[in-house]
């Protein structure tokens, strides 16, 4: 708020002194300053539209879409340069899904201003056709880079990634999903072909960094936080890739006390976060960006 006042005043001063265009002035000021991007995220909401009953043993009165919206609106007032993201398993878990097939979930996420989501295994619970039928209710894109939908009804409808422009920052967001075989009936996912998320992620990140010139790269993952086996998870994905700033995870319903800071393939720090399930929590990650020559050699300071 302070900064905006300041820009307005300097712009006015520009006119007063007759020096030149206000747009030029304000943009030069904006780019000279540090930029601030807020990422808000959920995962595995599983059709939990209402708060938990106040009699619930574990989460009395917590969660609910209407309360989440209040929180999102308050944060956006503080910083309008925000993205709202979801890491999949939007569907299944309450009668809202059984009755309306995901219509209400998508409509509400659109009202809440979600910018993108990825696809979880339960989002196939009414079959790939059921997911396809609900797409018109989503005013945001579903992103997935490692499912090949070529021979399905979703062909051409799911983008691998999307680039957002927020407050002078280019943010590349892409999605990766879990191996469906053995987890979802083939009858549901039909001819969807799963590809290794590590290789795909590296290709996409390269594109986002080199072609799209993104300043921030965010991965929406429905792989799961961590497995003891060699099954791919968010921590393994983080350690086997580079140039990802944040992995927003799902599937394992992991309540992290705070976002995990881990190292990527180049030894640089990556954030991995997940907020349990059922819309009980909202993850918030704030990125402050500066021109590279103003950032000290140590890289970003991370406060979690």
């Amino acid at each position: 708020m302070k900064r905006r006042d300041f820009i307005q005043k300097t712009a006015a001063a520009g006119i007063f002194t007759g020096i030149g265009g206000t747009a030029l002035l304000s943009s030069s000021f904006a780019s000279a300053e540090a930029k601030h991007i807020t990422i808000l995220h959920t995962n595995d909401v599983h059709s939990h539209i209402d708060p938990f009953p106040t009699s619930d043993d574990s989460y009395p009165g917590q969660g609910g879409v209407a309360k989440r919206y209040t929180l999102i609106k308050n944060i956006k007032k503080e910083n309008p340069n925000a993205l709202v993201l979801d890491a999949g398993d939007i569907f299944q878990g309450t009668p809202y899904f059984n009755f309306y097939g995901g219509e209400l979930e998508f409509k509400l996420m659109s009202k809440l201003g979600y910018d993108a989501a990825t696809i979880g295994n339960h989002d196939f619970d009414n079959g790939i056709g059921g997911l396809h039928a609900q797409l018109p209710n989503a005013k945001f894109n579903l992103l997935n880079a490692n499912y090949d939908f070529s021979n399905t009804v979703l062909d051409g409808q799911i983008k691998p990634y999307q680039v957002f422009h927020k407050g002078g920052v280019k943010i590349g967001v892409f999605g990766v999903g879990i191996q469906l075989q053995g987890l979802v009936s083939k009858k549901m996912y039909k001819e969807t072909v799963y590809h290794d998320p590590v290789n795909i992620s590296q290709d996409i990140v390269k594109k986002l960094k080199e072609t799209e010139k993104c300043d921030l790269v965010i991965c929406l993952s429905h792989l799961g936080y961590s497995y003891e086996s060699d099954k791919i998870d968010d921590l393994k994905l983080a350690s086997q890739t580079k140039n990802i700033d944040l992995i927003i995870g799902g599937h394992s319903h992991t309540f992290l006390e705070k976002p995990t800071v881990t190292k990527n393939a180049e030894g640089k720090e990556v954030l991995v976060n997940q907020v349990g399930w059922a819309g009980i929590m909202l993850g918030r990650i704030d990125f402050y960006l500066d021109h590279a020559n103003k950032v000290n050699g140590k890289g970003a300071s991370i406060l979690v």
Binding site: Q62, L271, R284
Partner: protein, 258 residues
Amino acid sequence: MRNILFILYGIVIFSFSGCKYQNKNTKVPLAVSKIEGKQLSIEKSLTEDEEIKTFVAPYKDRIKDEMNKVLSYTPNTLSKFNGEYNTAIGNMMADALLEITNPVFHQRTGKNIDAVLLNHGGIRSSINRGDITTKTAYNIMPFENEAVVIELKGTQVLKMFEYLSKSEVAHPVAGMQLTLTEDNQIKTGRIQGKKVDLNKSYFIVTNDYLMDGGDHMNFFAIRESETYLDYKLRNVFIDYFKKHDTINPVRDERFIKQ
């Protein structure tokens, strides 16, 4: 005021020089200097957004009306923990599956279902004494699993009996009779009252989760055919409750240990 304007003027000049500086360095990309991360709790005390509440209300009301519809009645509380090898609730579920799906299967294939197998873990709640509502069906079967008829050779049916003899829980069954000896050996195993013919094919109705090896039911993997009935288990139970104004299932002899 005048002073402030002077200061601003100075900043404007500075900004222009800053701009020039940046123009020379347009390739200097943005880099992250600081990251803050935290988990925010959607607390009970947080105010609900009115617009969202209003939007959800009609969807919510319709579900409530539907869920509270009384479909049937049970004089006794039915729990899956009430019985060692067969339970009243499990018998009801298996019988319901046979009764409701056999006409569908018969109409499509001209054949009849021989037996039913579900899993004990799939009984997701008890049924309380009193009215049975739509909600009851959601409670006992919250998942979307659907009925599927699997054609098994007699040899695989014996594998199924073997699985049941070792599982030591009351998996819901119908159309079959299985008696175990004291040391869990199969004493008798019958389908539709007859010994299993190793060369014959049998039609077993179960759900897609178990067909795919859920609960280690690996014997379903070697099958002659599968027929999806496009009938969710939950809807099978709803239709069964609608058909019977009172249900009063009991434990019986279908799966016992001597």
